[in-house]
């Protein structure tokens, strides 16, 4: 059995008196490429933040590399949901990626090693040519690649991506998933999305989240899980999902 990199046991989260996650248990292993789908507001972003220690669960336990998320989250590369940053911020692509190295030596300048890692991260995502560009002057797909490079510059062992393909056109998406496929050789990847079709084609395991998590540690979804999560007949959601993913009961 591969090493468990992230483990959640019976995790519940509520904002005020609104439950957002209920009794979520999940194990993620080395080299997994886990897709988590679910409707908007289903708690996907919250789940990632729980893993990152940014949101404290009300109940349950979170382990990251066998330890406290606050201690070990630096081994996680985080690619946040795209829309959240200030597009007019005066920062170049290179400096964005370098912030992935900013913790390495507090109070010191970036070293040549930091710059080399940032450069090769930009190369991996195919954005080296844009390194001087102000971040807001890139297309959505290009920005997404830069944020992946920023995460990679920190040399993570797991990559968490929050809706990375939103707002990227279909052709670029294919390249994008190929990139993730390559990265998966070196690390586990967890990708959150509300686009069922895209996710089910590219990932190695799939889970469905709407407050509760429906997951069988495999690339199979049960029709009843999907119906429970989306609260509608499976025919309405399932078009486009390959038959090998959706198991009839």
């Amino acid at each position: 059995m591969a090493e468990e990199v992230i483990g959640l046991r019976n995790v519940s989260v509520r904002y005020g008196d609104m439950p957002v996650l209920e009794d979520v248990s999940l194990s993620i292993y080395q080299h997994d490429f886990l897709g988590i789908i679910g409707p908007n507001g289903g708690g996907k972003t919250t789940l990632l933040k729980v893993i990152l220690g940014l949101v404290k669960p009300d109940k349950g336990e979170v382990r990251v590399f066998g330890g406290d998320p606050l201690q070990n989250r630096r081994y996680i590369g985080y690619v946040p949901q795209y829309s959240l940053f200030d597009h007019s911020f005066p920062i170049s692509v290179r400096d964005v990626v370098l912030t992935g190295r900013a913790r390495q030596a507090l109070f010191k300048r970036y070293t040549d090693h930091d710059r080399k890692l940032a450069r090769s991260a930009l190369e991996v995502v195919g954005m080296l040519a844009f390194k001087e560009r102000q971040i807001g002057r890139l297309s959505g797909g290009q920005q997404q690649r830069v944020f992946i490079a920023r995460a990679l510059a920190a040399e993570p062992k797991v990559l968490l991506l929050d809706e990375p393909a939103a707002g990227i056109d279909a052709r670029v998406q294919t390249e994008f998933y190929e990139l993730l496929g390559r990265l998966r050789q070196k690390m586990a990847i967890v990708m959150v999305s509300h686009d069922i079709t895209a996710v089910s084609v590219h990932v190695s395991k799939i889970a469905c989240l709407n407050r509760r998590l429906y997951y069988h540690d495999s690339k199979e979804l049960l029709a009843e899980d999907l119906e429970a999560a989306y609260q509608c007949p499976v025919e309405l959601i399932a078009h486009g999902i390959p038959h090998r993913v959706l198991r009839e009961h």
Partner: protein, 270 residues
């Protein structure tokens, strides 16, 4: 003709303008890009309590504003995190409490009525030599901290959450940044007064943004503009016998309007 006495005032005033420009040029860039203008307004108004305290205790008000401003900055940074109060309510409350406390303490101080207006609206012609030394020391602190923490500040102002995840003590550094704002406020109180501080924290940085997308260059350009605004305002106020603080702020505002009319290669919203 400028008399010798006036000449002495003017030299001190010019020196104060330049020293204040360095602080507000650098720190103002963070205020503008991190969008903490309201927080900065809160810190500067709350600092007025420190002026009142200085009068009441018979200590030089500027020295009293430093600890008071830093305490206000830390309070604003912490209150919203520790309590269920929203951040802007916390700021609003401290803003008004500081002002009220300052006026109360001044009223309770026996003896002569201090020159309230000069602290509310600034009077750069009253800057003394010892104040200049304090301002120089504050500039040295601000420049040193920003040099040491430049990359960390960039990381937390661009994306605080990501910075936290990779292991930067983002909240602590944010508090350090608020303290730098408090120190800058102390310098600017002398130049434009508590109420107008926010103009010199935001206008030079906003203008500089039209010329570059690099934060370091923004700081340099913004220092130059802050100095130009202060010196031009000072000159005009001398020439036409106008209140110096308001003249400086109005000059800044006019230049800001003019530069926003010029089409630029960096036309993002501010």
């Amino acid at each position: 003709m400028i008399t010798a006495l006036e000449y002495g005032f003017m030299v001190n005033a010019l020196a104060a303008s330049l020293l204040a420009a360095i602080a507000c040029g650098i720190v103002g860039v963070y205020v503008v890009v991190k969008r903490i203008v309201f927080i900065s307004g809160g810190i500067s108004h709350a600092s007025f309590g420190g002026i009142g305290l200085g009068y009441f205790l018979g200590i030089e008000p500027v020295l009293c504003v430093i600890p008071f401003g830093i305490a206000s900055a830390l309070a604003i940074g912490e209150v919203s995190r520790r309590t269920r109060l929203s951040e802007d309510s916390a700021i609003g409350i401290l803003w008004a409490m500081g002002m009220a406390l300052g006026i109360m303490l001044i009223a309770l101080t026996p003896g002569y009525a201090p020159d309230l207006l000069s602290y509310l609206f600034g009077n750069i012609l009253m800057v003394s030599r010892s104040t200049l030394w304090v301002m120089l020391a504050l500039d040295v602190i601000i420049v040193t901290v920003v040099c040491l923490l430049y990359k960390e500040f960039l990381a937390i102002t661009f994306d605080e959450e990501f910075a936290t995840v990779i292991g930067i003590p983002a909240h602590k550094l944010y508090l350090v940044l608020l303290c730098l704002i408090a120190l800058t406020v102390v310098m600017l109180i002398r130049v434009v007064g508590v109420i107008l501080v926010i103009a010199l924290l935001t206008i030079p940085a906003s203008v500089s943004r039209r010329f570059t997308n690099d934060m370091r260059k923004m700081m340099g350009i913004s220092i130059i503009f802050a100095a130009l605004f202060a010196i031009t305002g000072l000159y005009l106020s001398y020439l036409f016998d106008l209140p110096s603080g308001s003249t400086i702020v109005l000059v800044s505002g006019v230049v800001f309007l003019l530069t926003s009319l010029i089409p630029s290669g960096h036309n993002f919203k501010y």
